[in-house]
């Protein structure tokens, strides 16, 4: 069983908390400590952002995180090295890389998949690679025992949901709103209706993210979702902290969110 499947199985119906941070933000030397800090607070799975120069689907908060990491020239190989370092002391918490296709494409799908597996990565979500263009990448990921994670949006019609269901492994990531990461127009009732409809087609767990800003919304989303993804809010915490306080503040915030969800 993959680490992701094992994680959901071990939760026995309780909901997973999936925090997101960008690798290398604010400095690559802090990333592994921050990942452990997320686990200390109760993270079930970690989504680790791969910095990209043109993060088209991200709002200003995660754009800035990417820019801070790129000041230190953090590339995909560096991110894999950070995951390998994290794995030296944590062998259970799944790590899902989230980013854009180009760095992966340039490294080469097979080389990337093999090195990501060796580093201890469990899943990969490339935001700008829908199933239509994903055949080659997905095959390389699956061959290396990595789960390709796909997005489903409020605008995704039923026929596409069925198509995505055929390709999805690990979990699917339901984008809770029309917008970029960190937007403020989350409609919880609408999300609940959509998740209920998705269940007819989706066999893997359903995570929900984009726009979850506090314990109350995390809790409300966890009523229907299998996992709650929080990104921009955590990145803001890193932004507001000093390098000395970032880990402690992240742990505290993650613990608050974890305590709130079902």
């Amino acid at each position: 069983m993959s680490r992701i499947a094992a994680c959901f199985a071990a939760l026995e119906g309780k909901k997973a908390l999936i925090p997101f941070i960008t690798a290398g933000d604010p400095h690559p030397s802090l990333t592994v400590a921050l990942m452990h800090g997320l686990v200390d607070g109760g993270a079930d799975i970690i989504e680790l952002g791969v910095p990209f120069s043109d993060p088209m689907a991200d709002g200003p908060v995660i754009q800035r995180a990417s820019e801070r990491a790129l000041v230190h020239k953090v590339g995909l190989r560096d991110v894999l090295a950070l995951v390998a370092e994290f794995r030296q002391t944590n062998t259970t918490t799944p790590v899902v890389l989230m980013g854009y296709l180009n760095p992966v494409f340039v490294m080469g799908y097979t080389a990337f998949a093999e090195q990501a597996h060796a580093a201890g990565v469990d899943g990969v979500l490339t935001v700008d690679c829908p199933p239509e263009e994903a055949a080659e990448l997905s095959a390389a990921l699956i061959a290396a025992d990595l789960d390709p994670v796909f997005l489903i949006a409020p605008t995704t019609p039923e026929a596409r949901v069925r198509e995505i269901a055929r390709h999805a492994r690990g979990y699917v990531y339901y984008v809770s709103l029309k917008g970029v990461t960190g937007a403020g127009n989350l409609d919880i009732d609408d999300v609940a209706r959509k998740i209920a409809a998705l269940r007819a087609h989706i066999q893997v767990p359903i995570g929900v993210g984009f726009g979850i800003r506090d314990a109350a919304t995390a809790k409300a989303i966890s009523v229907t979702a299998d996992a709650v993804v929080v990104g921009s809010r955590l990145v803001q915490e890193i932004e507001a902290a000093t390098e000395q306080t970032a880990k402690e503040r992240l742990t505290r915030l993650v613990a608050e969110l974890k305590a709130a969800i079902l």
Binding site: A57, P60, G75, L76, P103, F105, T156, K178, G179
Partner: protein, 400 residues
């Protein structure tokens, strides 16, 4: 060569193109693709389009024999396709009208656009005023400084110009921001993309709307020059004016096609915007796979060109394909050469060309002397240079 019929149903030109966007936009792109397929087969749409091009834009744009310049160069005869004489001063308006008519059919009341030099922003603001649509134009903060006359023109036309402060603050970042707007307002908004790049169906759609450039040229050249050109040449940033000129000539044997990219400070300096001719690899940006200027980690690098409209690290996917199959050649002209052609065109022909188009002119001026006097080069003079006078003055140390 076999009949050229691309892209395929999924928007691929060989290995290039495609639909590389976040899931949220997939439904909108499907809707757009389906609607465009419908209008493609609907003669009333094209009648309306041609009517607008004739009565509002002033098409067909003439072809002009640049006799004095040709004589001075002493070689091939240079002709200009006068896209600078279109309403709003560039080829961009024909694409903006096509997309705005489509937006109207789809019931969208709000349009957005990205712009580099401001020509596509002005074109979009113009058609939004003409058809009564709300208009937001995303423009890099750096470009806003370089192109202040166009910024004011957009405002006069009732558009909101949104400065983009992220990344390199130029065209690519404006495109990112327009995509973010679209993903947020996907129900109400039509994204009028300004170049033959982006996710399918944009590269195909923009090409189809701008093919009027090459179609007209094919009709006009026998009249004006007595025959088809030996070479057609156009500048390439994203590549919209070039594909509009090239596409109708792809199946015409014996017509050489040359795309001129921005060489900036020179290819060797690394400070340029020439993905096709500067040795860049292939990548994925703004929804399509194409040649892309990037570093070893796959991060898109900052580009440089004296002309804001060419200052773009990527290129439309069809150009990547035409390069690979050898049907078109791509070359670079640096800032200095482009500026020199800009001044020559002003002095010898009484035409102030856009700095973008000056790259194509510079290539023609460089190559014409090596060709016989009975050979014909057709340059797509894609826009007029009024918008660039501040830049050119600034380079000469003059404040206007």
């Amino acid at each position: 060569m076999e009949r050229y019929d691309l892209p395929d149903a999924n928007g691929h030109f060989g290995p290039y193109g495609g639909v590389y966007v976040a899931e949220t936009l997939m439904a909108a792109l499907d809707e757009l693709k389906n609607e465009y397929e419908r209008v493609k087969a609907d003669p009333t749409f094209w009648e309306e389009f041609r009517h607008e091009l004739k009565h509002y834009v002033g098409r067909p744009s003439p072809i002009y024999h640049a006799k004095r310049w040709s004589e001075q160069l002493g070689g091939a005869q240079i002709f200009f396709k006068r896209e600078d004489l279109n309403h709003t001063g560039a080829h961009k308006i024909s694409n903006a009208i096509g997309q705005a008519l489509l937006a109207r059919r789809m019931g969208k009341k709000r349009v957005i656009a990205e712009t580099g030099a401001g020509q596509h922003g002005v074109a979009t603001a113009t058609v939004a005023a003409r058809y009564g649509m709300e208009c937001f134009v995303y423009m890099g903060a750096e470009d806003i400084k370089r192109q202040s006359p166009n910024v004011f023109r957009m405002k006069l036309l009732g558009a909101t110009v949104v400065p983009v402060e992220s990344g390199s603050k130029t065209l690519k970042d404006a495109l990112n921001e327009a995509m973010r707007d679209w993903v947020t307002n996907v129900d109400s908004t039509f994204y009028i993309l300004g170049t033959a790049a982006g996710p399918h169906p944009y590269p195909m759609m923009v090409r189809d709307f701008l093919s009027v450039i090459g179609e007209e040229s094919k009709e006009q050249m026998p009249e004006v020059a007595g025959r088809q050109p030996d070479v057609v040449v156009a500048c390439v940033g994203g590549g919209s004016n070039a594909i509009g000129m090239f596409y109708p000539y792809i199946n015409v044997d014996g017509v050489r096609m040359v795309g001129v990219e921005a060489g900036g400070h020179g290819i060797a300096s690394g400070m340029h915007a020439a993905p096709l001719s500067g040795g860049a690899g292939v990548g994925v940006l703004h929804g399509a796979k194409s040649y892309l200027m990037q570093d070893a980690n796959g991060q898109v690098v900052e580009t440089h060109s004296v002309s804001a409209g060419l200052d773009y690290p990527g290129v439309g996917p069809e150009h990547s394909y035409l390069k690979d199959i050898g049907r078109a050649e791509y070359v670079a002209i640096d800032d200095k050469e482009a500026l020199s052609a800009f001044h020559d065109c002003c002095h010898l022909e009484g035409i102030i060309p856009a700095l973008e188009s000056s790259h194509a002119l510079a290539w023609a001026a460089k190559v014409a002397p090596t060709m016989a006097k009975d050979k014909v080069i057709l340059v797509n003079l894609s826009g007029r240079g009024d918008k660039d006078i501040n830049t050119v003055a600034g380079l000469a140390g003059i404040t206007l």
